[in-house]
Symmetry: C2
Subunit: 415 residues, 2 copies
């Protein structure tokens, strides 16, 4: 065991709680949660699934495996149900994969906070590779090739690359060209691609040309997904994976059988309904994606207006600003790196997570802002944001955006 520290999310939550207890207003952009109410049809299926109190097959009941296979089939990935598994969260599947696939792990830097600790837990080395200028969620293809060769030259065994599209933390989505270039490196260097597509259904622009590496390199790509983000079901813990072939599914099921047995029966009933993608659910999901896009772009606009940089967000509910152009002004206030920028913004009423927590350069003035928390903390406020033609004009949303604008656009003025 390797990692035994308090997570940066929890540490930030604690700081926010202390400030709130002292009467401060904090716009908390630190937590990557969809923060929307449960769609009623999902609750109906949860109830219908209550009688599923038997253990059942480890990978999942035939119905849910068929549904997940159909979901991938509609995304240009023809899938046999035997290639599929469901689990209590895609995180559990990513962890099991680390246990069954040998070799060290290449990660885009920055990337989601959990990939590196999981790789370390499985006794692997983590090899960070910078993301390209266009978008995050993938390593720069040339840098990837170099990193693989350099690692091999010093005796490491890089075999796995994790990709995320749309990406957490950058809120951007790899272009088809980039995906093809990554797949080409994977073929050349014999790497397994793990494509985390948990935000796939939250691409903001329905016209965006999404390409999964599983389409380009089907024999060497595992796809993981889940309902936590696209259906705002983080607390229900439903994940799924699609393997290039049945044996790897069996290996992961073997780990599953020793760790979590299977996804809870009632949640398998939910998953079967959700992965079948009935029209009413898809309508809600698409509306949510538009809402996420509107708020991510609103925060992006504030970033740009403040003189900072940020790749335009294209999916999910994140913006990843870079305050490098304001380094001189910020330095006058003691802000010299990501950590001090995070602290500085917190004193100005906005909680964010510095880039170093995502494996980015600690010296960079970068951080992730999760924009979905802007919808509000109650189902009522969230419904209001969902119902609005322009959610940025809903009073509680506009109010929070104003706090962010003050914090970002006068970064050196103190308070």
């Amino acid at each position: 065991m390797v990692i035994r520290k308090i997570s940066p999310n929890l540490a930030l939550d604690h700081q926010v709680s202390l400030r709130q207890a002292a009467g401060e207003r904090i716009v908390h952009l630190g937590f990557g949660e969809a923060r929307l109410p449960v769609f009623p049809g999902l609750v109906e299926r949860l109830v219908a699934g209550a009688s599923r109190n038997s253990y059942g097959p480890v990978p999942g009941h035939p119905g849910v495996l068929r549904a997940v296979a159909g979901y991938f089939g509609r995304r240009a990935l023809p899938t046999d149900p035997e290639q599929v598994i469901v689990a209590p969260g895609s995180k559990a599947l990513l962890m099991a994969l680390q246990f069954v696939v040998p070799g060290d792990v290449l990660l885009p830097a920055p990337c989601w906070v959990t990939y590196a600790p999981q790789a370390l837990e499985a006794g692997k080395e983590v090899i960070p590779v910078p993301i390209p200028a266009e978008c995050g969620g993938v390593p720069d293809p040339d840098a990837l090739r170099e990193a693989v060769r350099a690692a091999r030259a010093r005796g490491a065994n890089p075999r796995i690359v994790i990709l995320t599209a749309p990406d957490n933390p950058t809120g951007t989505t790899a272009t088809p060209d980039l995906v093809r270039r990554i797949c080409a490196v994977a073929e050349e260097e014999d790497l397994l691609l793990v494509s985390d597509e948990i935000y796939r259904d939250l691409v903001h622009d329905p016209g965006f040309e999404y390409l999964s590496p599983a389409e380009v390199a089907p024999s060497r790509t595992v796809v993981v997904t889940g309902l936590s983000k696209s259906l705002a079901l983080g607390g229900w813990r439903i994940g799924a994976a699609r393997f290039p072939a049945v044996p790897m599914r069996q290996d992961v099921a073997s780990v599953a059988s020793e760790v979590w047995s299977t996804l809870a029966g009632p949640l398998q009933e939910v998953a079967e309904y959700a992965f079948d993608e009935p029209a009413e659910l898809v309508a809600r999901r698409d509306a949510d994606a538009r809402l996420h896009g509107a708020l991510a772009r609103a925060v992006q606009d504030i970033v740009v207006k403040s003189g900072a940089l940020s790749r335009p967000p294209t999916g999910g509910f994140y913006v990843y600003p870079d305050f490098e152009p304001l380094r001189a002004q910020l330095a006058r206030h003691g802000v010299v790196d990501g950590a001090s920028l995070q602290d500085h913004l917190l004193t100005r009423g906005v909680a964010v997570l510095a880039g170093e927590h995502f494996g980015d350069d600690p010296g960079a003035l970068r951080f992730r802002a999760a924009t979905s928390v802007l919808y509000g903390n109650t189902a009522e406020l969230q419904q209001e944001a969902m119902a609005a033609a322009d959610p940025t004009t809903v009073p509680h949303v506009a109010d929070a955006l104003a706090v962010i604008e003050r914090a970002f656009t006068e970064p050196g003025s103190g308070r």
Copy 2:
């Protein structure tokens, strides 16, 4: 990763399916599941918990931690909620414990099928220790001391002992005297005790004096439990653990945060209700325990009548016969070990799991019979068995018992 084979349960299920497809009637005593309907109050809480779609704290919401602490408090184990965690099954918690606690693992032989693969998964050595004559679920105390010393002498590092009471596979429950003797060895040899008490509320005799090692050796005992057995909720995946102190809880929570995040919100609501032990739920649970006892004793009677041996079952829903006294008769039919006895009984219409799958001597003529499957495969049949004053006389139950009696009492007659 160490273990990548099909589980003996699944292999047996497959054999049973083939025979059933060929028109044979098989009484399937191979699967350790409570096989009873869900209590309606639990379904109500599942529905009430549907709005819990946020991630929430990794160890569990304050309400469920308070409920679990209260549950242990009513069992002479005063507990701070900070000592507690809930998870998708106690299996996940047992696995996380293997990751966070260093040292090799001592197991009673026989014991539950999952302890050894988990220990191997965590890179540990497994040291089996025979159970005493009185009951299973604990190693013989003197043999335990010897095994620890012998293991240390050859360079191993035995530090963890797993206990199960009531026990799977033997259906017996460690006596207070045995528990005290095990705790004394643990003190002498500085061992951590992991007490798997998932069958605790299914002791058949309400007057049985149950002693948890956590009462005797509180600073060195972890207790794990769950609702899969006592409330027939295997498919809902709800487990809990109580640690001797907060730091170990934090270490396990750290693994949880990288593997399964947290128990699904709706199931936390269920767990809060269940661990609070309302009277109506306790009444159902106690009735289930009596039912389990009645059927386990009925099968035990058949075993004894057949001339075989078996420790009288005292908890859960298992009987663990030893056909050693019939070895000569069985040998004439090619039955010379556990595997051939399992095959032989299957040809006679009864599916059981040979002792070797639980870490017992492969040459021994021992097997586990899970008696809870006798209630029937539908909620209607199960209700009938639950409602009967003497469940052994309910037609479908009596019929299955007759099949078992034929298979066990004429073991050498072929068919």
